[in-house]
């Protein structure tokens, strides 16, 4: 009877109140004799109660799912997180240092290999910022475009005889001593060229004028009262240029710059 009852659907039907009165009486009699059947009846009641609350089942599933998901994630201990952060910071600092060092060396080597009187002035990554590119500000885009346009048709390296004989030989004002650049400078188009001088008696405003080999003024920088001036040739067209430093009406020196 026990087997019959447990195998059949009587227990379920009893919980659902679907047994006839005779069947119910029979089942209850059997249950009073059989502890296993009583256990089953109570368990079935428990299960029915559990099924009656879908919200609770949903919550249980959510908790289980959360535990499973979070367990599968790799949680790094706190000290490892700190160690990882330190390693990343050191790596970044090293990488930045390498870039700065490499940039300085590259520009410095490039300049020094071609013109030992040029002084590398690029300051790592910061040298690339627009604010630091003002040495060449007076060269307007229109002028540069004109130079580039002409350089296509004319030979930009043809020396200009009327300037050429003055290069390196003229120093009429002895109150100013030009230190750099040398009269004939050869440099790359992305170089920084330093003009520096010393006043022997006292500061006198100077004027720097640069022309191309066709006599067109490329840069005219007036009233220089510092002891140096840095020229950035980055945006200049390749070719031969002549620079002229004057003090008032007197010519201090003249030289040529060959940008290749």
């Amino acid at each position: 009877m026990n087997d019959f009852l447990t195998q059949s659907h009587w227990i379920g039907k009893f919980t659902d109140n679907e047994l006839s009165s005779e069947q119910e009486t029979q089942l209850l009699y059997q249950a009073s004799q059989n502890p296993l059947l009583r256990n089953e009846l109570r368990l079935d009641k428990d299960l029915t109660e559990m099924f009656a609350d879908p919200e609770l089942i949903e919550l249980s599933e959510t908790i289980r799912k959360t535990i499973k998901d979070e367990k599968s994630k790799v949680h790094m201990p706190f000290y490892l997180k700190i160690a990882a952060s330190v390693i990343i910071l050191i790596s970044l600092a090293g990488f930045t240092g390498f870039i700065i060092n490499y940039t300085n060396q590259r520009y410095g080597n490039d300049l020094l290999s071609h013109q030992r009187f040029l002084k590398p002035q690029l300051k790592g990554l910061w040298g690339l910022l627009p604010g630091n590119m003002n040495p060449n500000m007076s060269s307007t885009p229109v002028k540069r475009r004109a130079i580039v346009q002409n350089s296509i048709t004319d030979n930009p390296y043809t020396p200009r005889p009327e300037y050429e004989f003055l290069v390196g030989t003229v120093t009429r004002d002895i109150s100013v001593m030009v230190i750099s650049p040398m009269p004939r400078v050869k440099c790359r188009s992305d170089s920084l060229l330093q003009f520096s001088w010393r006043w022997l008696t006292g500061p006198v405003p100077l004027c720097l004028e640069i022309t191309d080999n066709h006599g067109r003024i490329v840069l005219n920088y007036l009233q220089m009262t510092d002891v140096s001036y840095i020229l950035n040739t980055k945006q200049w067209a390749r070719g031969l240029y002549y620079y002229k430093i004057t003090s008032g009406d007197e010519l201090v020196t003249m030289g040529s710059i060959s940008i290749y």
Partner: protein
Amino acid sequence: MILLYTNEWLVKGFIEGRESCIKYMYREYFPMVRSIVSTRKGNLEDAEDIFHDGLMIIHKRLKNKGFILNSSLKTYLFSVCKNLWRRRLERKFRLLYAADTYLGDADSCDTPEDLEEENAEKFRLYKKHFAELPEFCRELLTHYIRRTPLEDIARIMNYKDAEYVKARKYYCKNLLRKKILNDPECKQFMNYE
């Protein structure tokens, strides 16, 4: 991203069964539960079960209108989980070292809280066995839990009629009962007789 919840928000979200709140509670409170269990002869699985049961109990109590939470949720969970694990250990030790002692002694289930805790454990075990049922049984019983009409279940599951659905339901419940009764873990607390 880890959000910070106030106690009120957490309680509110937990009552509504929000997954984000449960996640937060797992991240913030589970280490505490794990330490309770691991320092008292338990393993990670035990800790997860205790955490699950603890949350189920608290959820049930929070939903009760008359219940007032006087402490933070973390403190409350701590005390619930600690009690749960103590009771579970007691039951284990009784079975191991004093098998001849009467299982249903006076201090095992004397308060409503004790009953709640035992019910939570039962619920977890039932759920575990429910998940191990064959696919069609799980589907059928899930429809039954959601109170889908028998005719609709028959249509969805391609069964002949509602009567057949009923017969399958009894069969599945019977299967579930057998699984539960044959589980030694269930026998620990199912002291009906």
